[in-house]
């Protein structure tokens, strides 16, 4: 079973892998349970037995994506859905709580996050502390689950998730180009964005191939740009907007902005919800219908 356990300090929660009943006590659920655990299902594809995984609303879309791409079979996985009222920025927690403390009770309201440790209760204003990837959350309640651990949270209207994309789209092409050049020039090519991504499931990644060498190992703007654009197009229609790429980038490249541009284009072209929202609705670029727009033919 894949869930969450306390990390090396109070502000961190880690993916936990348990296989015995007496390990259940290790598991926690609180607003620091950030990682999308669905990605780990790929590690258990060929292992015997079933695997249970804890998913939040955003992560649950990744499960649907993996099922639709036949990366994992439905019989193999037991989905433990947790309706998620939003997550807290761990840096703010780290700034206020003793790093060695343990959170005993966590609560989230419309106004604030409240974390209780042995030293008392600490509250954080929700407006300030909400994690970036939760601000535009579409699905607080998982869209697929075998067991729902908690009361369903009705969807709210986060407003237009494409405001930042539209702002960028309106810039002259030179400015847009300069914007992305600045971002991509500092990419380390550490591949954390790829490795954390539930849409990245290739047996051998194009960027790991030496022959043919599609993108050179050389770290420069040209190769880095090629890496990011190939990756963005490669996950087009399969990116479930979980925000993990953004979160893990060590040099703060706004990858979700890049992926959201494609999400927006796909919504505009095919009038479909975010990939992974429904098991029945196939990914728009992975399915054919006679009503597909074909103006380029």
């Amino acid at each position: 079973m894949i869930g969450y356990a306390p990390g090396s300090e109070v502000s961190r929660v880690v993916p936990a892998f348990i296989s015995r009943e007496d390990e259940v006590d290790r598991l926690v659920w609180n607003p620091l349970c950030i990682n999308n655990l669905a990605k780990y299902l790929l590690d258990y594809r060929h292992e015997p037995g079933k695997v249970a995984v804890v998913v939040k609303g955003c992560d649950s879309r990744a499960i649907i994506r993996l099922l639709q791409d036949n990366q994992i079979s439905r019989e193999k996985v037991i989905i433990l859905g947790i309706p998620c009222p939003g997550l807290i920025n761990p840096d703010l927690v780290a700034a206020r709580l003793d790093p060695g403390a343990q959170i005993t009770v966590a609560a989230v309201s419309e106004q604030d996050f409240s974390l209780q440790t042995g030293e008392g209760t600490f509250t954080f204003a929700r407006d300030e502390a909400l994690l970036k990837k939760c601000r535009d959350c579409e699905q607080h309640t998982p869209v697929i689950a075998d067991f729902m651990l908690g009361e369903e949270i009705p969807p709210n209207d986060p407003g237009d998730p494409f405001v930042a994309v539209k702002t960028l789209e309106e810039l002259p092409v030179e400015e847009r180009s300069a914007y992305w050049d600045k971002q991509f020039s500092r990419c380390l090519r550490c591949y954390a964005c790829r490795n954390v991504c539930p849409a990245c499931t290739c047996r051998e990644c194009v960027f790991d191939q030496a022959e043919p060498c599609w993108v050179a190992k050389a770290n420069n703007l040209s190769e880095n740009t090629a890496f990011h654009l190939i990756r963005a197009f490669h996950v087009a229609g399969r990116c479930v907007d979980c925000g993990e790429c953004d979160r893990v980038c060590p040099v703060n490249i706004p990858l979700s902005l890049l992926n959201r541009k494609i999400l927006k284009d796909i919504k505009d072209l095919f009038n479909v919800p975010t990939p992974g929202t429904s098991l029945e609705e196939l990914p728009p670029l992975g399915a054919f219908t006679n009503s597909d727009p074909d103006e380029f033919m």
């Binding site: 993916p15 790093p99 060695g100 954390v196 790991d208 050389a218 040099v251 703060n252």
Partner: protein, 346 residues
């Protein structure tokens, strides 16, 4: 060695002058939470208020991508041409842990095997250290034999004081640099600089939130290669290269040729990461580190054992970057503590 002071105004002028006379590499604030060491044109671009740069400054001496030589073929002959190397440089504003990181790289590139590329850059680069002014929550340099005001390895060490900066000259090369720009410095006649640095060091030493005890860890690892613990860590490791790329002591590289026309091109090297599955993949397809377990184990054995075996130096300087950035909280401080625990039950 001598000590001097420099006013804030003179520091500004000095750095502007240094940028004209040398290639000046200094910390630059790129984004809200990203600072990087980059060549700068003057003081205005520099941010000295950083704690740890996002990526360590090792990239000046060991660039992420470095051209080694150019080649061309004609009439069955191969002609080689040296790649351009940068001239005299000043690496300015290095935090003590990062200087220690350079000292950990020196025997790798400048020991039994002389790496001409690293050697040239190292010889041409003056290291100017900068004492820390605060301790971040992931810092643990004091546990790894360092300290936030240690100047070991630097040519000059700057320490911020109320009315400017104190400058300690630590090597003849540092002395030359100070002599060249003497007009900006005042002799430390009242002997204020060293006491100020020592006082700051004591103050900062109290701010570390977590101390790590490495006693016996290497000796335990000498005796134990196989531990189920590595498998547990590897289950959550994503196999990305963040930890190795931002680390001041990681130094693995790959060599590759680029030749669009097949007749001429460039041979380069670039950083590689032992966290990647193809890092040890052989031409025939065999991989001696077939799963993430072997890769994670290799990384931590390198930090805590192999580097010591080879050079009698820790492969970790306690900068805490990997702790801050690991997406799944693989924390070397916790690993050291866990290994102590495993050793106790052995």
């Amino acid at each position: 060695m001598e000590a001097y002071t420099i006013s804030r105004d003179n520091l500004r002028t000095w750095l502007d002058t240094l940028a004209r006379d040398y290639t000046l590499i200094a910390p630059v604030r790129e984004e809200e939470t990203v600072s990087l060491f980059k060549p700068v044109r003057g003081f205005a671009e520099i941010n000295l208020g950083y704690t740890n740069s996002t990526v360590s400054p090792k990239g000046w001496l060991f660039p992420q991508t470095e051209e080694m030589f150019f080649f061309s073929t004609s009439d069955g002959q191969i002609t080689l041409a040296d790649a351009q190397t940068p001239g005299p440089a000043v690496l300015f504003g290095l935090r003590p842990c990062d200087i220690k990181g350079i000292l950990a790289l020196d025997p790798v590139f400048n020991g039994a095997y002389q790496d001409c590329y690293y050697q040239k850059r190292r010889q041409d680069t003056i290291l100017v250290g900068l004492s820390c002014t605060r301790v971040e929550r992931h810092c643990f340099c004091t546990s790894m034999g360092g300290g936030p005001t240690d100047g070991e390895g630097a040519d000059l060490l700057l320490t911020e004081m109320d009315d400017g900066y104190g400058i300690e000259v630590l090597t003849p090369r540092g002395e030359e640099l100070v002599n060249r720009y003497q007009q900006y410095f005042d002799a430390d006649r009242e002997n204020r600089v060293i006491p100020a640095r020592e006082e700051l060091g004591k103050k900062l030493a109290r701010q570390f939130t977590r101390n790590v005890d490495t006693t016996g860890v290497k000796e335990f690892l000498d005796q134990h290669f196989e531990l189920p613990y590595w498998g547990e860590l590897a289950r959550r490791c994503l196999g990305c290269g963040i930890c190795t790329y931002i680390c001041p002591t990681c130094h693995c590289f790959d060599i590759f040729d680029q030749s669009p026309d097949g007749e001429s091109g460039v041979r380069s090297r670039c950083w590689d990461s032992c966290m990647f599955s193809h890092f040890t993949r052989m031409a025939g397809g065999h991989n001696p580190r077939p799963t993430q377990k072997e890769r994670v184990r290799n990384r931590f054995l390198h930090k805590l054992k192999y580097h010591r075996d080879r050079y009698n130096l820790d492969g970790c300087v306690g900068c805490g970057r990997c702790v801050t950035r690991c997406p799944v909280n693989i924390d070397i401080r916790q690993i050291i503590a866990d290994l102590q625990e495993v050793a106790r039950h052995d």
